[in-house]
C-alpha cells in the first residue's frame, strides 16, 4: 500500500511507530553507556554493557519482529484490498461476458433460421420457375401438336385436316372438269347425229326422186300397154302396181323426212341447251377453281403464318427456358450465403466457448480471492494476537462463521 493510498489515521499510526522505533533505537544505544558509566570495575562494566546490549538487542529484535509483522499485515491488507477491488472489477465483467456468451447461441440460431428460410424460399422459387418453364413448353408442344394435326408437318404422307380438305376441293374441281368434258363429248355426238340427219334427208330426197321417176315410168308403161290393146292388159296391171309402189315409196320417204326433221329439231334444241349449260358449267368450274385455289392459297398463307408464329413461340419458349435457367442458376447465391453464414456461425461458436472459458477462469479466480481473503484475515489476526483468550475468540468466530 502506498502512502497516498493510506487513510490519515493509518498514516499517523505509522509515523508514531517510526518515531517510537527511532527513539527506542537511540535509547538502546545510549542506555548501556549511561548505565555502565557508574560502574567502576572495568570487567564489571564490560559485562554489564554486554548484558545491557544483549537485552537491547533482544528488545530491538522483538520490536523489529513486531514491526515487520505489522508491515506484513499491512501489506497483506493492502493486497487483500487490491484483490477485492480486482474481484469487484472482475465480477461485472464475468457477468457481462457470461451474458454475452448466452447471446451467441441466440445469434447462431437466428442465422441458422435465416439459412433455413432462405433455402426454403430458394427451393420454392426454383420449383415455381421450373414449373413455368414446363408449362410454357407443354403449351408450345400442345399448340405445335394441334397445328400439326391441322396443317401437317409438311411430309408427303401427311393426313392433316388441311391436306384432306385440299384433296376434297381438288376432287370437286376435277369432277367439274370431268363433267364439262363429258358434256362436250355429248355435244360432239349430237353434232354427228345432226349431220347424219342431214345425210338421211339427202337419201330421202334421192328416194323421192327414184319414186317420182318410177311413177313416170309406170305411167309410160300404162300408156304403152293401152296402145297394145288386149295384149297389153297384163302389162297395164303390172304398170299400175309399179305406180302404187312408187306412191308408197314416196309416202314412206315423206314420213322419214318428217321424222328426221323432228329428230333434228329436237337434237338441235338439246344441243343448244347443252351448249349453253356447258358454257355456264365451264365458267362456274373455272370460277370455283379460282375460288378454291384462292382459298387453298389463303389456307397455305395462314398455315405458313401460324407455323411461323408457332416457331417463334417455340423459340420464345426456349429463350424463356434459358433465361429462367439462368435465374434458377443464379439462386446459387443462397448456397454461397449459407456457407458464408456457416463461416460466421463457426467462429461465433468458438468465440462462445472462449468466453465461457474466460468466464469460468474469472469466476474461479474470484472465488479463490474470496477464499484467500478469509484465510489471510484469520491468519493475520492470529499472528497479531498475543493472548490465548484473543485466539480463542477468533477460533470461535471462525468456527461459527
Amino acid at each position: 500500500m502506498r502512502k497516498n493510498d493510506m487513510r490519515p489515521d493509518e498514516l499517523l499510526k505509522m509515523d508514531r511507530r517510526l518515531v517510537l522505533s527511532a527513539t527506542g533505537g537511540m535509547a538502546a544505544v545510549m542506555l548501556p553507556v549511561v548505565l555502565t558509566s557508574f560502574i567502576v570495575s572495568e570487567t564489571a562494566r564490560v559485562v554489564a554493557a554486554v548484558l545491557v546490549y544483549a537485552a537491547a538487542i533482544i528488545m530491538a529484535w522483538a520490536f523489529v519482529k513486531r514491526y515487520v509483522g505489522i508491515l506484513n499485515a499491512q501489506h497483506r491488507e493492502s493486497e487483500k484490498k487490491h484483490l477485492s477491488e480486482i474481484a469487484m472489477l472482475v465480477q461485472p465483467i464475468t457477468t457481462h461476458l457470461n451474458n454475452r456468451a448466452l447471446i451467441i447461441p441466440v445469434l447462431t440460431n437466428q442465422l441458422n433460421e435465416v439459412t433455413k428460410q432462405t433455402e426454403s424460399a430458394a427451393l420454392d422459387i426454383g420449383e415455381k420457375f421450373m414449373s413455368i418453364v414446363q408449362r410454357a413448353r407443354n403449351q408450345a408442344k400442345k399448340a405445335s401438336g394441334a397445328f400439326g394435326r391441322f396443317a401437317g408437318n409438311g411430309g408427303s404422307s401427311s393426313e392433316s385436316l388441311t391436306d384432306l380438305s385440299k384433296k376434297a376441293l381438288s376432287d370437286v374441281i376435277e369432277s367439274l372438269r370431268d363433267m364439262v368434258g363429258v358434256t362436250s363429248q355429248t355435244l360432239k355426238n349430237m353434232e354427228v347425229i345432226i349431220e347424219d340427219a342431214g345425210n338421211i334427208k339427202r337419201i330421202v330426197t334421192e328416194i323421192e326422186y327414184i319414186a317420182e321417176q318410177t311413177n313416170l315410168l309406170a305411167l309410160n308403161a300404162a300408156i304403152e300397154a293401152a296402145h297394145a290393146g288386149e295384149q297389153g292388159r297384163g302389162f297395164a296391171i303390172v304398170a299400175d302396181e309399179v305406180r302404187k309402189l312408187s306412191d308408197r315409196s314416196n309416202a314412206a320417204a315423206d314420213d322419214i323426212r318428217k321424222l328426221i326433221s323432228r329428230v333434228e329439231t329436237d337434237i338441235k334444241g338439246i344441243y343448244s341447251k347443252t351448249e349453253k349449260s356447258i358454257t355456264e358449267s365451264s365458267a362456274r368450274s373455272l370460277e370455283a377453281e379460282t375460288v378454291v385455289n384462292d382459298t387453298l392459297r389463303k389456307i397455305d398463307d395462314v398455315i405458313g403464318e401460324v407455323k411461323k408464329q408457332l416457331d417463334e413461340l417455340g423459340a420464345e419458349t426456349e429463350s424463356l427456358a434459358k433465361d429462367i435457367s439462368s435465374i434458377v442458376i443464379s439462386m446459387q447465391f443462397q448456397d454461397i450465403t449459407r456457407q458464408r453464414i456457416e463461416h460466421v456461425i463457426e467462429p461465433l461458436m468458438s468465440f462462445k466457448a472462449e468466453l465461457e472459458d474466460i468466464t469460468q477462469k474469472a469466476r474461479s479466480m474470484s472465488e479463490k480471492i474470496h477464499e484467500w481473503e478469509g484465510n489471510s484475515s484469520a491468519e493475520w489476526l492470529e499472528k497479531m494476537y498475543t493472548m490465548e483468550s484473543e485466539r480463542e475468540v477468533l477460533k470461535e468466530v471462525l468456527k461459527n462463521g
Binding site: 433455402e119 430458394a122 427451393l123 426454383g126 420449383e127 421450373m130 418453364v133 427456358a321 434459358k322 435457367s325 439462368s326 434458377v328 442458376i329 443464379s330 439462386m331 446459387q332 447465391f333 443462397q334 448456397d335 454461397i336 449459407r338 456457407q339
Partner: protein
C-alpha cells in the same frame, strides 16, 4: 435415354438448380445429400459423370472422391468438384484425391453445361 450425372451436395437448392440445368440440357440426374448417401446410390448404377460439393456433413467431398476412386467400377468416371473454394490448395487436394476438374460457384448455366459436355462423353 440420356447420360446420367450424379450430383452430390448438402444444399437442397444447389441440387435443385444443378439438376434443373442438366435436365434441361437432356441429361438424367441422380442426386445425393452427402458422400455417404452418394456412395449408397452409386452401387453399380451406370453413371457418366459425378458433380460433388466439397464441404458436406457425414462424408465430405474429398473423402467421397477417394472412395469412388477405390471402387473399380468408377475408377475412371469423371468427377468435377463444385465449390466456392477457389484456393489452389483445395483444388490440389481434390485432384490428388482423384477429381477430374472443378467448377467455382457462382457459375452460369453455360459454364456448367460446357464442363459437363466436356467430361460426360
Amino acid at each position: 435415354m440420356g447420360k446420367t450425372v450424379l450430383i452430390v451436395d448438402d444444399s437442397a437448392s444447389m441440387r435443385q438448380l444443378v439438376s434443373f440445368a442438366l435436365r434441361d440440357a437432356g441429361y438424367d440426374v441422380i442426386d445425393a445429400i452427402n458422400g455417404k448417401d452418394a456412395m449408397s446410390k452409386l452401387n453399380g448404377t451406370k453413371i457418366e459423370m459425378v458433380i460433388t460439393d466439397l464441404n458436406m456433413p457425414e462424408m465430405d467431398g474429398i473423402e467421397f472422391i477417394k472412395q469412388v476412386r477405390n471402387n473399380p467400377g468408377y475408377k475412371f468416371t469423371p468427377i468435377v468438384m463444385l465449390t466456392t473454394e477457389s484456393q489452389e490448395s483445395k483444388k490440389q487436394e481434390g485432384k490428388q484425391a482423384g477429381a477430374s476438374g472443378w467448377i467455382v460457384k457462382p457459375f452460369t448455366p453455360e459454364q456448367l453445361i460446357d464442363i459437363v459436355k466436356k467430361f460426360a462423353r
